[in-house]
C-alpha cells in the first residue's frame, strides 16, 4: 500500500498545525461558528446529537495493521471504546471533544491518516473496489489512480469550496463493487482497441432526495490525461453549479439542467482550453505511485490445498463461511476473506477497540498486514493463504465476527440514523437489528441467497437505500418513526434505482413487511434466480399484492 514520503508527511503535519490554530481561535472566540463550521467539516468533524463525530478517511478503503491499532487506540483514549465503519469506506467516532481534536489528528498523522475532506463541499475521500489488487480480471489496480486523485484533490486551491460535496469512485474490474454509477464522478478503468489503458467516465450520479444514475460522458479517456479532464469537470461545476438551494447543488442537477449533451460540450470545451496547462501527472510519478500497489511477496502454491479442502469437508460451518465470505484470489492457493461486521442482532459496521486490535493481529499474521474497509461496512483480508483460512475463521469466531453472511439478507447496510445523527428522521440500526434477528437462521439465509438490504434514516441516503435490492427509508410521520420500502435498486454494473412500493410501515410493521417480500420472492423464484433477478423478471406487482392486498 502507499507509504508517505517526506512531502506527504510535510503536508500532513502542516494540516495538523493549521487545525490546531483554528481550534484555538474558535475556542477563544476569534472564529465564529459560521466561519469555523466549514473548516472543521473539512477535517471530518461534525456535531451530532450527543457530541462531535469525527470521520477519519480510509483512502480507497485500504488500511494497514499499524493503522488499525492506532484507530483502536484512538477509540480507547479519545472516544468510548468503539468506532463505526461507514458506507464510504471511512471510520467514524461518535464521542469526540473539540478541544482534544488537535492531539487526535496528530496521532492519526503519525500513522499517515487524517480526516481531510471527509466532509464539506469539496472532493471527498476517493472510494474503490475493496477487492482491488487481489481479484482476478482487473485492467489495473484502481488504488493507483485513487491515490493519484487523493493527492491531486488534497487542499486543491480552486476546488475546495464547491457548491456541494463531491464523491469519486473507481473500479478496475467489470464486476463493479464500487458503485461507480452512483457517484459524482465514476471511473471504470478500461483498455481500448489499441490496448491502451484509460477510463470510461461517468458524471452526475448521486442518491439523496433525487436519486440519479450517472451519465456516461466519455467512453475512453486516455490515462495520462485524467487530471486535466477532472479539472475541466470540476471547473464547469464550480462555476455553474447551483449555490442558491442546497438540495439542487449537486452536480447531478447541473447535468440535468444543462442536459447531458450541453454539459459534455462545456466540459470538452473547458478541457480543450486547459489540457495542456501542466495539470496532468508526469508519467514517472504515476509509475512511482503504482509501485506501492504491487502484490506482496506471495508464495507459489500449486494445485488444490489439501488442508483447506479437508477442513471444508469436515466442518460444515466453516464451509458455509467459505461459500459466502471467501472470494478467489488471483494467485493460486490464496483467497480474499471478508470479515463480517454484521453479527446477528449487532450494529452494522460497529467495531470495538479490542476487535480492531484482533483484526490487526490477523492481518499481520495472515494477510501481509493489509486490511480493506468495504462500502458494505465489512472488513476484508485481501491476501490470505487458503491453508490459513480455517485458523482465520476460528480467530474471527473468538471476536464475534465469523458470521457466514457476506452478501446475504443479514449483511445489512445501515446508516447511524436517529440514534446518533442530527439529520436523521428515524432510527436505522434497530430496524437492521430486528431484521437480522428475524433471519438469524443461517440455513434460511443461504436458501434466500444473495440479497442486499440497505437502510437510511433520512432522505440523505447515507444507508444507500436507493441502491438496495430491498431499500428502507426512515421518515418522520407526525412525530412517529415510519419506514418506506423500495425494491429493485442495485449498486453494481447493473445499477438501478429502487422503486417505492406503497405506503410506509410502522417500526413494528417494517420487519414483517420485509419478511413478506422475501417469502413472496421464495414462492415465485425460478431455479438459480436471486432476489434481484427475480424482481427484474416479475416487477413489483406480486410484492404489492402480498403487502397491500389485491386492490393495489
Amino acid at each position: 500500500m502507499y507509504i508517505y514520503d517526506d512531502f506527504d508527511h510535510t503536508v500532513a503535519q502542516q494540516r495538523v498545525a493549521e487545525f490546531r490554530d483554528q481550534v484555538g481561535r474558535r475556542l477563544k472566540g476569534e472564529l465564529s461558528e459560521e466561519q469555523f463550521r466549514p473548516l472543521r467539516l473539512m477535517n471530518g468533524l461534525y456535531l451530532q446529537l450527543h457530541a462531535y463525530m469525527l470521520r477519519v478517511a480510509v483512502p480507497y478503503g485500504t488500511l494497514s495493521a499499524t493503522q488499525m491499532r492506532k484507530l483502536a487506540h484512538i477509540a480507547r483514549v479519545y472516544d468510548r471504546g468503539y468506532a463505526h465503519f461507514t458506507t464510504r469506506q471511512n471510520i467514524q467516532y461518535n464521542w469526540i471533544k473539540l478541544e482534544e481534536m488537535p492531539d487526535l489528528l496528530a496521532e492519526l498523522a503519525s500513522v499517515q491518516m487524517h480526516g481531510n475532506q471527509t466532509s464539506g463541499n469539496c472532493v471527498r475521500n476517493v472510494t474503490a473496489d475493496h477487492f482491488s489488487g487481489a481479484i482476478e480480471g482487473e485492467v489495473e489496480d484502481p488504488r493507483i489512480v485513487s491515490e493519484v486523485i487523493r493527492q491531486w484533490s488534497t487542499f486543491h486551491p480552486e476546488f475546495s469550496w464547491l457548491p456541494r460535496k463531491f464523491k469519486i469512485a473507481v473500479t478496475g474490474a467489470e464486476k463493479d463493487r464500487a458503485a461507480v454509477q452512483w457517484h459524482d464522478i465514476g471511473l471504470h478503468i478500461v483498455r481500448n482497441d489499441a490496448d491502451e489503458v484509460g477510463y470510461t467516465v461517468y458524471v452526475g450520479g448521486g442518491m439523496g432526495r433525487i436519486p440519479v444514475l450517472a451519465t456516461k460522458v466519455r467512453a475512453f479517456l486516455p490515462k495520462p490525461e485524467l487530471l486535466s479532464y477532472l479539472e475541466a469537470i470540476l471547473r464547469v461545476y464550480n462555476r455553474h453549479g447551483r449555490r442558491d438551494n442546497i438540495h439542487k447543488a449537486r452536480i447531478k442537477i447541473l447535468v440535468r439542467d444543462l442536459g447531458p449533451e450541453e454539459f459534455i460540450r462545456q466540459v470538452e470545451e473547458e478541457w480543450e482550453a486547459s489540457r495542456q496547462s501542466g495539470v496532468n501527472l508526469p508519467p514517472q510519478e504515476e509509475m512511482r505511485i503504482a509501485r506501492y500497489f504491487e502484490l506482496p511477496p506471495l508464495e507459489k502454491i500449486a494445485g488444490p490445498v489439501a488442508a483447506f479442502e479437508d477442513a471444508k469437508k469436515q466442518n460444515r460451518a466453516f464451509a458455509q463461511w467459505v461459500a459466502t465470505n471467501v472470494h478467489p484470489h488471483k494467485a493460486p492457493g490464496y483467497a480474499i476473506a471478508t470479515i463480517s461486521l454484521k453479527p446477528i442482532g449487532g450494529i452494522p459496521g460497529d467495531i470495538a477497540a479490542d476487535q480492531m486490535d484482533a483484526v490487526a493481529d490477523l492481518a499481520e499474521r495472515y494477510s501481509f498486514s493489509e486490511i480493506r474497509a468495504s462500502h458494505i461496512q465489512n472488513l476484508v483480508l485481501p491476501h490470505v493463504k487458503q491453508a490459513d483460512l480455517f485458523a482465520v475463521w476460528q480467530a474471527l469466531g473468538k471476536i464475534g465476527f465469523a458470521d457466514a453472511n457476506a452478501g446475504l439478507v443479514t449483511d445489512i447496510i445501515a446508516c447511524p440514523g436517529l440514534d446518533y445523527c442530527s439529520l436523521a428522521n428515524a432510527r436505522s440500526i434497530p430496524v437492521a437489528q430486528r431484521i437480522s434477528e428475524r433471519f438469524a437462521d443461517l440455513d434460511r439465509q443461504h436458501k434466500i441467497g444473495e440479497l442486499q438490504i440497505k437502510i437510511s434514516g433520512c432522505i440523505n441516503a447515507c444507508g444507500h437505500h436507493h441502491a438496495g435490492h430491498i431499500g428502507i427509508l426512515g421518515v418522520d410521520k407526525a412525530g412517529q418513526e415510519f419506514y418506506q420500502l423500495t425494491l429493485g435498486g442495485a449498486g453494481d454494473e447493473t445499477a438501478s434505482t429502487g422503486q417505492l412500493l406503497g405506503p410506509g410501515f410502522s417500526s413494528d410493521g417494517i420487519v414483517d413487511a420485509v419478511e413478506k417480500v422475501i417469502d413472496t420472492y421464495l414462492d415465485l423464484r425460478q431455479p438459480a434466480e436471486t432476489f434481484i433477478t427475480a424482481y427484474r423478471r416479475v416487477g413489483p406487482a406480486p410484492f404489492k399484492e402480498k403487502l397491500y392486498g389485491a386492490k393495489q
Partner: protein, 101 residues
C-alpha cells in the same frame, strides 16, 4: 380559545466538547430534568434570548428551544430529543438518565 402553551426547555451542545446540555436558569446541565421550563410563550422567548447570547459568547452551539412533557423529568416531546437527552437507544450501556440520580 388559545391552546395552552407546550412547556419548553433550552438545549444545546457545549462548544468545547460537544456534550448535550440544558439550561437550568443559571448554568448548563447534562440532565434534562435540571432544565428550567418555560411555561408560557414569553418565558420561551426569554430562553431563546439566553440561548442566542450563549451562542454569541461561544459557549454552546446548535442551540434550540424544544418541547417537553409535563413530567418531573421534563421528558422531551419528540423522540429525537429523548434520544439526545439519554443517548443512543442501541447502546444502553452508554446511556445517561434524564436526571442526575
Amino acid at each position: 380559545m388559545a391552546k395552552p402553551d407546550v412547556p419548553k426547555v433550552l438545549t444545546g451542545n457545549l462548544l468545547r466538547n460537544g456534550a448535550t446540555v440544558y439550561y437550568t436558569g443559571k448554568e448548563w446541565s447534562a440532565y434534562v430534568a435540571d432544565a428550567k421550563v418555560a411555561a408560557t410563550a414569553d418565558e420561551a422567548e426569554e430562553l431563546r434570548k439566553i440561548g442566542a447570547a450563549a451562542y454569541a459568547a461561544n459557549l454552546v452551539i446548535d442551540v434550540n428551544v424544544v418541547d417537553v412533557q409535563p413530567t418531573a423529568e421534563h421528558t422531551p416531546a419528540h423522540i429525537r430529543e429523548v434520544i439526545r437527552a439519554t443517548g443512543p437507544t442501541v447502546r444502553r450501556d452508554l446511556n445517561k438518565s434524564m436526571s442526575a440520580e
